[in-house]
Symmetry: C3
Subunit: 346 residues, 3 copies
């Protein structure tokens, strides 16, 4: 459980919208957790009935909860609000924002090419390499062992966790978060079979990642063959996701773990792909369309729809098909009987 | 083929349970391999008939085999046992244990925060970074370029291969093995869509990995939103596996390559998930249950059962469905004919 | 968009086979791109009608196109050929070949064991580690932060992008390209459940990667238990692919993103596996066989065939099954009606 270096200011909580506080005004809270691991200095939350007993039994010093549970938790320190989970998140966000920022500056073990522009307010940790012509914006945090190629641009307040790799010429926006092991800009996967040899098609485009994107760990976004692979503003990508060359992803999309997009596919804004979905190349998925886990997309999808299955079709239809699949063996026996009957009749 | 620095002690082999030796007492064996690549100083094993010819033809200096094959391999150096494969593994284990351990100590290029506790018997290789407040146990091997965050605890005799990343506050037990590129403790994937913006839910829990766990290469175990993501004692996880935030995995589970678990899912002890299985969030899979490759789990599964398919159902039922699926086009033609007939009758 | 340091030599283009040039003899072209991002010094290509308008509207200084489009692009600088895309790729290849090579030599921050053989013409970048007994061939490029184990052999002109890991005893051929984060030679995934404990089976084989192989980012090729996992000459492997221990892959195969092979599987030459395909262990897939995306292979496949589905069957048959699956609910209703009728008749 994370311990925050500064205690939660109970008095300031009363200032949160739609919140009231009942309890000890001098309470000291220095961590946020769950009912299971809470101590007397931990804040937890209770949103739903099913966790009530666990919360009641817990040692938690402070419980964020709804009015409906307050009476039954009498005597505990309670922060009462209509949205306990959301309030808990707000409190944690404030706490995190108050944490002392790590020092800016370039660690002596980093290897920085001479003609780079690294902001004086950026932090560049041990073992980082930055190639010729690259630009690192204000307030960036480039953690240990990241490898940044040549002519790369990274916008302000972007955070690269350890071991992120950015290939030459890629552009990363501002307020972007990229987790460890993710590789931006490796060559797209393109070969032509010529006289028995898989001949490499040169990949000289780049990747452009817009502002407020977050990408999980060990994911891959390939550079374009020509032009750019683009990840739109505010899009969030989970771990172990594969984005093929020349894909163009809109704003505010959600790509869950292990999703794979083949090359040149377009996702319009706010598309949601659940885990392990695969999308073939050169397709367009319409805005706000949602695709169920493990689905395989083999054609264009309209906007504002829900798809599911392999190959994916309208989710309602697919559910009806799946619901009757278990009767297939019975149906087959019936079919066989019918065929026998027919033959007998002939 | 690996060459062991010390030769196999043939005389000591007689001491192995249920083993007898026929052959040259002065034989020198310094490697273990397969029939294909064996030399006169290589030990191989023969367990099943189908490899008999390859073994007979091989150059292998020593053959571990069963009594039933011994007569037909007369004149070769033979180690006879009821379990050739298992005996081979025991011999290799002993060999590996005899290898000279690499020196303990911290490489001069490692970047270690001042307030860490690194055991004097641990080995920390080049380019490793260890953050403030972290503890590295006795006999640990932290290979080149690992990045260990702040307030991390790593138990005794744990081995991190090159480029492993452990985020802040995570705990790794004793005798754990983690292969290259694996990322422990990256943020869980959680956002709330508020007024057109995917707002990040802070992820301040951690990951706890118990003793004797092994995790393959390029896998990801996400930190909990609150509380802990837990990997139980002796559980083994293959490459490119995704474990979502707040999952709790029991003892002795096996998760094969490219498996993905969404958030908050519980695997009880000894669950087996074959390759590319996907499990939705907030589910429980009962102890000792086995799930076939590429299956999609969308509901809780009972213990001691076998599931398969997409969505996964009882494996026996699924096999019966799959067996008749190929007749679907015929069945459809029959259905069409029947509909036509019906219409005609009306 | 990549800017090439040297301008394209327009006069030399006339020398390309089946090409003619119409336009300004003094044109200066220094980049290659798409219609969308082209400037007056960019070359683009037009192969198909559907992009004609975009190309016509573009600022591109030079257009590579077919004779049939030439008249409609009168007044533009045109390179006319039967194969615009292929010609564009040839031009880019030449350009890339003309780029000044980075300097050979070992960066001072690299950690190289004393008894290695690193060619004087190889380039070893910052933070690279190379273990005892390893050999790096002529003209190799080992980018920042790669970790190369002991007794590793890397052939001439092989290029490892940043953060590649090669475990002990593995062999990589000549002219191989491996992208960032890929792990070669981690332990195969093998355990035996003995008295409630998953006991590790030692993995002492290696990986052999033949010449002209390319492997994408964050992929994994596991070492053999005994013997070698082999990747055949000229085979191309995409990102996030898992190759299990003891697999043997032939020449010129294509393995797309997120493919997974379990252990000991054999792919003969020129096998094509589309994205997210999973292959069970101990199987053989015949030469030139193609497998559709997300398929699951559970048995041997013959050569020169096309498979698809889960479990995969002949692609033609699978397409016929999939085409009628949507009628299943109707067929089930008919079946139910029939059963009711039958019961009624009894």
């Amino acid at each position: 459980m994370k311990k925050f270096p500064n205690a939660l200011d109970i008095r300031a909580l009363a200032a949160l919208p739609t919140v009231s506080y009942e309890g000890d005004e001098n309470l000291v809270i220095d961590s946020a957790g769950t009912a299971q691991d809470a101590t007397q200095s931990t804040v937890i939350f209770l949103e739903n009935e099913d966790l009530f007993e666990a919360v009641k039994e817990s040692q938690a010093g402070l419980i964020i909860t709804k009015q409906e549970f307050a009476a039954k938790l009498k005597g505990r320190n309670l922060l009462i609000t209509e949205k306990p989970y959301f309030t808990m998140m707000l409190i944690i966000e404030r706490w995190l924002a108050q944490e002392k920022q790590k020092e800016a500056g370039i660690h002596e073990s980093a290897v920085i090419a001479p003609d780079t522009e690294v902001s004086a307010t950026a932090r560049v940790e041990g073992g980082v390499t930055i190639g010729s012509g690259s630009v690192i914006g204000d307030g960036c945090i480039i953690e240990a062992g990241c490898a940044i190629g040549e002519r790369v641009k990274i916008g302000a307040h972007t955070h690269l966790y350890p071991k992120v790799v950015i290939y030459d010429e890629c552009e990363v926006g501002a307020h972007v978060i990229i987790h460890s092991g993710t590789v931006i800009g490796a060559d797209g996967f393109g070969y032509a079979l010529i006289e028995g040899v898989q001949r490499k098609i040169p990949q000289i485009g780049n990747v452009i990642i817009k502002d407020y994107v977050e990408i999980g760990a060990n994911s891959c976004v390939d550079r374009a063959t020509l032009g750019s692979t683009i990840i739109g503003e505010g899009t969030k990508i989970d771990n172990l996701v594969q984005i093929g060359h020349n894909c163009v992803i809109g704003k505010g999309c959600i790509l869950c773990g292990q999703v794979g997009l083949a090359g040149s596919t377009v996702l319009e804004d706010y598309v949601y792909l659940a885990g392990q979905v695969g999308v073939a190349g050169h397709l367009t998925i319409g805005a706000k369309t949602m695709v169920g886990a493990q689905s395989g997309i083999t054609g264009n999808l309209p906007p504002d729809s829900t798809y599911f299955g392999y190959p994916a079709i309208d989710a309602g239809k697919m559910r009806r098909i799946m619901a009757v699949q278990k009767y297939l063996p019975d149906m087959y026996r019936d079919y066989l009987a019918r065929q026998k009957e027919k033959k007998h009749q002939e």
